[in-house]
Subunit: 245 residues, 2 copies
């Protein structure tokens, strides 16, 4: 018996997120099915990040145990033959049997893409959020500094969460203008339900000059979801990487 | 009566190309329908480039005549309200009544995106062509120099064409590596049927070391389609811009 770790990229457009659920097809479900077919074993992977419906990934992580003789590093090629073209395993490797993608300490990085110009560009519409009012990037960068660090992020968490401990550490948060895009990249030790999308929605309010940058500190202090900005659409969000200690 | 010029961006994925045809929906057809609804006139646009099924555009050009009082430069906003999200008019302006998007001299620029790495990335799959064998970009750049200039491009034209004069001028052809992408940008005074996609297919053969770069000159000389490389998929191709004299 060995444990194999997969790094999985997917276009989230046609999935109801990562985690198996009763209504609609999910990435986890497709991966389980294709793995089980390939190995002729009943495989149920353990995933690292339960990305939401419509969110994309360059490298979500999942593990499973198997007796297969397929070499661990070649495993991804065999599996990709069976997967639909919107899911591609980027890497496969053997890991210790006690490696758990959620319980082992990790650092996650997400990127949110905003297309900021007067008219939307169709080819980018499934991977970015279109904002037609001009955003002040410098203000957003200043606001971002208030997010970095260990904070109780209760104000930036959907009230539907079941989590009790809402303290997380954000290691970095960059706001970079590249042509018509504003790319927001955030790295942390974990994120609450919808936390990245609510942080971006709040930064947009700062960029639109609805909030002053300093107001972000007050929003954190308040621990009140209603003071933060709205949750931006899922399609602009991509899970970039997960790094383990 | 005035003539309005539109610059139209579209994601070609769900269309059978630009030009109206009996089987399947086209961009021209949708634009005509939405324009006619908006203006309550029977509008049939004249388009500049008949992009193929699956090819994208940042700025294809079309014109139409109208008596509308909507200001010409604001016209795009009114029209975009009605268009599906995979078509967006980027710009609208009044032009002289004798301006014709195909018969006036113009320079067209296309870009073809190749994703060159060991495993495909799902989010890029509708806008790039995935090649897993490593491509030698320097060889492709050398091969590109043979394409630039005025040549009879008969070898790079699908045999289904109805065009008799196959001489065209390519002003520039760049092959640039950006991360895992190889972006091929070509500017010319006009392109034959499938010419860009056959040129890219031939450059890929050079990048794979199937052909030496110098062989491109011989292919041009031969005026023989069977000596050039295969036509690459439409989805990697985008019409970037059309400039008029």
């Amino acid at each position: 018996m060995k444990r194999i770790k997969l790094e999985i990229a997917y276009d989230g457009t046609n999935y109801r997120g990562w985690q198996i659920q009763p209504n609609g097809i999910t990435v986890e479900e497709v991966v389980n099915k294709k793995l089980s077919e390939l190995l002729k074993e009943d495989i149920q992977v353990i995933g690292a990040s339960r990305t939401d419906s419509g969110v994309h990934a360059l490298a979500n992580v999942a593990v499973f145990d198997t007796n297969t003789r397929i070499p661990s590093d070649k495993f991804c090629y065999a599996l990709n033959q069976r997967l639909p073209e919107d899911i591609r395993v980027q890497k496969s490797m053997e890991v210790p049997l006690d490696f758990h993608p959620r319980y082992c300490n990790s650092t996650k990085t997400y990127e949110y893409k905003i297309l900021n110009r007067n008219i939307d560009i169709p080819c980018y519409r499934m991977n970015s959020h279109f904002v037609y009012l001009p955003l002040d990037v410098e203000r957003m960068q200043k606001a971002a500094t208030y997010i970095v660090g260990e904070h109780d992020f209760k104000s930036f968490c959907s009230t539907r969460t079941q989590v009790l401990d809402t303290v997380r550490t954000v290691y970095s948060l960059s706001v970079v203008k590249e042509g018509d895009f504003i790319n927001i990249r955030i790295t942390g030790n974990g994120f609450l339900y919808n936390m990245v999308r609510i942080i971006v929605g709040t930064l947009i309010k700062v960029g639109l000059k609805v909030y002053p940058p300093e107001h972000i500190g007050e929003i954190i202090e308040s621990k009140n979801r209603t003071l933060a900005g709205p949750k931006v659409p899922a399609k602009g969000l991509t899970l970039i990487k997960i790094e383990y200690e």
